[in-house]
Amino acid sequence: MPESHLFTIENFYHFAKERKLMAAQCDNCGTLLVPPRPVCTNCLSKNLEWIKLKPKGKLLTYTVIHVASPRFQSLAPYAVGIVKLEDGPNLPGMIKGIEPENIKVGMDVLVDFDTNIPAEWPMWPRYFFRPS
């Protein structure tokens, strides 16, 4: 396992396995980096720290996928969307626990976690969205 202080995508998903939605916050300019990355892309500082995000937000847009790649075809049709988290950054992911025809742009959602997947590339525990 890589060092947990590194601001990597793999560590983002290690936290997801612990049901935590984490971002890297830049100590210099305050930018929240989701996904985390080793250097702040706003001010190029390396002074970052992990911060736990509130697992909720609003749905910005969505689609219902009918034709999927082989890995996902057995799940189709399924809904995916982009959520604006209450803390600011956007996150894409699947929308579960609601019939696709009832999904509305602007609806409030919570971030949940599917932790039954090992946390090593190319397999990561997925977060997903569900209605709040």
Partner: protein
């Protein structure tokens, strides 16, 4: 006065687009190159072409990388330095940009730029997976978001923000299929009705089968030279007077706005400024209609109309082949087809034909200035080029 010529196109070639069973990508490229050589008898390719830039998206399709050398080999251009450019569906838009830079640098007097992709021997599921590689793996592909899915996310956002309709998107498909009928090299040469488009099966709601471009095999190329040498090779060159190229986040979700492609806007602004032209000057345009919503967004990003009015532009017939700004006279990616690596220079090929009066049944009368707009992925790369009749 428009900007001064940066480089000149003295010839161009395009393979037939379609399901080219039994052919390798490099064989399609050789066909395109041969057409370009034959079109320009005053140019001895063996002696004159000094470098090759070739766009190619994916080695997965044919288990074949190293496309630069393979293309130069089959085109008969060895031992020229050849290199592959990769920027997903903008791979050959970027090859064209590299060719412009290479000639402007003074290192080469004459170069070939082009692109190639062989896709149709793969299943739709496989192609869906390979195309998705142009998007972010850990946050998009890993969460089941397909390529049509990304444009569907933009379509939903555009519909919600501006009231754009599924009918307006379908009108893009109907228009481009109508143009494809006039292009003997187009993959599909079949008119479709609005009703057919709207009732086709859902791929990623709100996008249906007829909102999506085609999985196609094909290759395209151009021969570029310095403007002062153009007349040595042809009496009818086409000058490139503007070149723009910009990038954006690999993930769609990181963008501030989901209803516009900022890279497309910036590339357009750079090209317009260099060409000293405005959208009103454009007589004919090829824009990146990988999905119908992408053409609507392209109108807005290129300032053919203001943000949110793209749907109305197609509805009012402005972008029809007989309209004020004919868009995608070739049939576009929608009907001519979208062999992803070949698309950028295939768009330039159509503009070259239009500005040299070789577009036959789809010729736009008195076309003097043209534009091509090529997008990679969900908009992480865009190139825009502006052309003028020589």
């Amino acid at each position: 006065m428009t900007g001064k010529p940066l480089v000149s196109i003295v010839s161009a070639g395009l393979s037939k687009f379609g399901k080219m069973q039994g052919l390798y990508g490099r064989e399609l490229f050789a066909q395109a190159a041969k057409e370009a050589f034959d079109r320009c008898p005053n140019l001895d390719p063996k002696k004159t072409v000094k470098a090759l830039f070739v766009g190619h998206m994916g080695e997965s399709y044919e288990h074949q990388g190293h496309t630069g050398a393979a293309s130069a080999n089959w085109a008969g251009l060895l031992p020229v330095p050849a290199m592959r450019t990769e920027a997903a569906c903008a791979s050959s838009g970027v090859a064209l940009r590299c060719g412009v830079l290479a000639v402007l640098s003074g290192l080469y007097d004459v170069v070939m730029v082009g692109g190639v992709e062989k896709m149709t021997h793969r299943s739709t599921a496989e192609v869906t997976e390979f195309l998705a590689m142009a998007s972010d793996f850990p946050f998009e592909q890993w969460h089941g978001i397909t390529f049509p899915g990304l444009y569907a996310l933009m379509a939903t956002a555009h519909m919600h923000k501006y009231g754009t309709t599924e009918e307006q998107m379908a009108m893009v498909a109907v228009k481009n299929h109508g143009n494809g009928v006039l292009n003997p090299k187009a993959h599909m040469q079949k008119e479709i009705t609005l009703e057919q488009a709207l009732s086709s099966r859902v791929i990623a709601w709100p996008l249906k089968l007829f909102d999506c471009s085609l999985i196609t095999d094909g290759a395209s190329c151009l021969i570029l030279t310095k403007p002062e040498l153009a007349n040595k090779f042809t009496d009818t060159p086409v000058h490139i007077i503007g070149s723009g190229h910009a990038c954006d986040t690999i993930g769609l979700y990181e963008r501030k706005e989901l209803t516009t492609l900022n890279a497309g806007k910036l590339a357009g602004q750079e090209a317009y400024k260099m060409a000293k032209t405005t959208p009103n000057d454009i007589d004919v345009a090829e824009v990146h209609d990988c999905f119908t919503i992408a053409e609507i967004i392209a109108y807005e990003d290129l300032n053919f109309c203001k943000p949110g009015d793209g749907g109305k532009l197609v509805e009012e017939g402005i972008t029809h082949i007989k309209g004020e700004i004919p868009v995608n006279t070739s049939g576009g990616l929608k009907s001519k087809g979208h062999p992803v690596g070949a698309t950028g220079t295939a768009q330039a090929y159509e503009i070259y034909l239009q500005l040299t009066d070789q577009a036959e049944k789809r010729q736009v009368e008195d076309a003097e200035i043209g534009l091509s707009h090529n997008v990679g992925g969900s908009g992480a790369t865009a190139t825009v080029h502006i052309y003028k009749r020589g």
